[in-house]
Symmetry: D2
Subunit: 165 residues, 4 copies
């Protein structure tokens, strides 16, 4: 036994209405697949994803950047208070079996990059595009066309990770 399977949902605090709806849909699907949802615990994409997960009966964990539990959105069941600033993004990435990025700004880009450093599967839903100096595009990010597909890809990758010796 290695604890609950966890899917991270990362994204910005000031998303478009489309991104919010996608995040809530992603959260709901994560819960329906029997996975816990982990995120940065704050507003925007994080709150929408937590709301979706809680409404579908799932567990939600928020890894907060500041020193106050009160920063957590109302749908975080277990607030983890780090006071590490954005260094907490490394904790989100490391704790997840797979990570889904929805929209997002520089903080989201840092979470994508930290997940890739640590060898975690990263699924992108209308989020950053990256290419290295040689021009290789979207290295490491698997693109999904819908919230349902994003969760399907994330859960499959997470199960693959768990079944490896």
């Amino acid at each position: 036994m290695m604890g609950a399977m966890m899917i991270a949902v990362v994204g910005g605090e000031d998303p478009s209405p489309d991104a919010l709806a996608a995040a809530e849909h992603v959260g709901r699907e994560v819960a329906r697949q029997g996975c816990a949802l982990i995120c940065g615990g704050r507003g925007g994409v994080m709150e929408a994803a937590c709301r979706g997960a809680r409404e579908a009966g799932g567990h939600t964990i928020g890894i907060l950047s500041g020193p106050d539990r009160g920063d957590a959105n109302a749908y975080v069941e277990f607030p983890i208070v780090t006071n590490l600033g954005y260094a907490r993004n490394a904790v989100v990435a490391l704790s997840a079996d797979a990570l889904i990025a929805v929209d997002g700004s520089y903080g989201t880009l840092s979470e994508i990059a930290l997940a890739l450093v640590y060898g975690k599967p990263v699924i992108g839903l209308a989020t950053w595009h990256i290419s290295d100096d040689a021009g290789v595009e979207d290295k490491g990010i698997v693109r999904a066309g819908s919230p349902a597909e994003a969760v399907e890809l994330a859960v499959a990758a997470a199960q693959g990770g768990r079944s490896r010796p």
Copy 2:
């Protein structure tokens, strides 16, 4: 709503049989009081406390020091993988509403001290004694005589913290 009330249990990886039994008892009582248990997620006191909490139907969160989820004991429901070394002790202290120290070595002393820095209630059960240079003893640590009393004191202190504005 501010998420589940969380009681941290801290203590060493190589405790006496008495400390192990006390830790398991503490974990059981934490769960019976409806609180989630948070700890460093590894063996010894941490494992015994998680076992007690899980057997009583409670939730358990392990804040791991290393990079691998597999370091968590078998009773950690939600392993948080920090790879922060002992700096993770600050995360345990900050995330808890109150902290119970059982036995323990230097790592436990650091968790007690970090909890006190952050103004968290600290309950001691057969653990470190500290006195400042002026000779004031056990500053900040409230002593408990039994596991049940330790949890009672911790829950009361935690509720006090939540009711403050």
Copy 3:
């Protein structure tokens, strides 16, 4: 007084010969401009930049990811041992007045992103290209065509940051 002006140089441990030469040139120029060089303290781009800086008489600081000072390259004057894993990248970004990215892999991308989150000037020298979902390219990264230009841009941006109230 706010301490030495610090320029971060970030990049991978396994760079091309061109990137190595560029990094050493960057380090030399940083020192000649009277700035301290801060980096992750390890091999590749970091080592080349430290060598350049030390040979030009500058100070070098390495923010190490592991628990051992011995991981520092031979040109790190002040090794800071964090044991924070890649969360240490946030410390590199926050401590710098400006950051120069040379080549690099995902770790470098995370340092670029964390620097941008924290509002630090980022200069890119043959490194990652990023574009957000709206297709806006290279948001936040100022491109340099040579090591000398990279340092010139970084020092100017750093001085701008210091002169702001």
Copy 4:
């Protein structure tokens, strides 16, 4: 080569006049012994120690808890900005060859404990007394009777650590 030998000086922000004078004396001696001084970078004991070290021509490094370089005292030559809160105390402890505790409150106790966890020599000058549950007093802390003796003990312990394979 493994970088400059570093002695940490830890202590509170609101010390007695005696503790301030002792800290400045300690800082001066650290510099005279050719060691760099590392500390939390803020006021009180930290500032006095940095002032002493700088006046004697030594290097000073401040590991800041917040996000702003401006929190450093005026005698910090190299401010390292962590934004890790008190988790930064682990970085101070790990980076030092030996640690001298002068006076201090809970933050200082946490630095002593973290240094002991990481196996660092700890010298105490009118600071915390600790005893484990078995009543063994001052485990791990070597007491010094004067600033000069504290530095002598710290430098000897640091040299011992460097000469081990």
